[in-house]
Symmetry: C2
Subunit: 146 residues, 2 copies
């Protein structure tokens, strides 16, 4: 039947579209930085510990596992390790283990990681410029529909 074939075509179109999305660089980037901890780790290693104060200059520094863990108070070891691993895998930071006793591991941003960190600056700027406007709109909308 034609209806069946049409349904198949639709499903195939959806599959292709989803495949396209998976391959899309912008999508991949968004999936990456949408991760709560990625940007925060970038900030930590990038040197600005107060994400709300954009003026603070860059002072990229290496940090140890426990330092990061202390700085990002909300993170679980699992997520921290997982995130660090994937960032290392992508060449955004380097992991250096020094065989002291006990072991010492430090993480540091690569140039690529630093460049991504700068990218997030742009996001912060937009957010600080427009986010309160969004919030106001939201409140007005909620008040209207109550």
């Amino acid at each position: 039947m034609t209806t069946t074939k049409a349904a198949q075509k639709r499903d195939q179109a959806k599959a292709e579209y989803n495949a396209f999305l998976a391959a899309c660089p912008s999508r991949q980037l968004l999936d990456r930085i949408s991760d709560k901890w990625v940007v925060l780790i970038l900030c930590a290693l990038g040197g600005d510990n107060s994400p709300t104060q954009p003026g603070t200059a860059d002072a990229p520094k290496a940090m140890r596992y426990s330092e990061i863990s202390r700085l990002l108070a909300g993170v679980s070891q699992k997520m921290l390790t997982q995130t660090l691993r994937s960032l290392e895998r992508d060449g955004l930071l380097t992991r250096t283990a020094t065989p002291t006793v006990p072991v010492t591991v430090s993480y540091e941003l690569t140039d690529l990681g630093l460049s991504l960190h700068h990218m997030t600056r742009g996001l912060r700027n937009w957010a600080q410029t427009h986010m309160d406007e969004v919030l106001t709109n939201r409140e007005n909308h909620d008040a209207r529909t109550t």
Copy 2:
């Protein structure tokens, strides 16, 4: 015991940190655009239907529900409606229902929405410039550890 009190302090610190995160404008923005469909809807209404071709000029246009639904082949009605509603709530787009039979509803970006759409351009540029480098790093890393 001191250990108990220390644990409490840690938990409180975590709670405060998480509250801080929830209030952070950058975080809110990221939560918003990390949504798969938000950016795609922005692209659709913003006029560039080929996210991989940054050269295409802006031609913001109003679109009907079914148009968007057809363009974003992978989306479910639920997610589409949900996303559109929240975008309207935030003042990023407008919803206009014309009481014809059957009803006609069209969506259009506001200036704010358009500005966010331009923001995503920056992301796309970074993605196109650096994402293949990331991918290469990833492959190398995987090859090394295999």
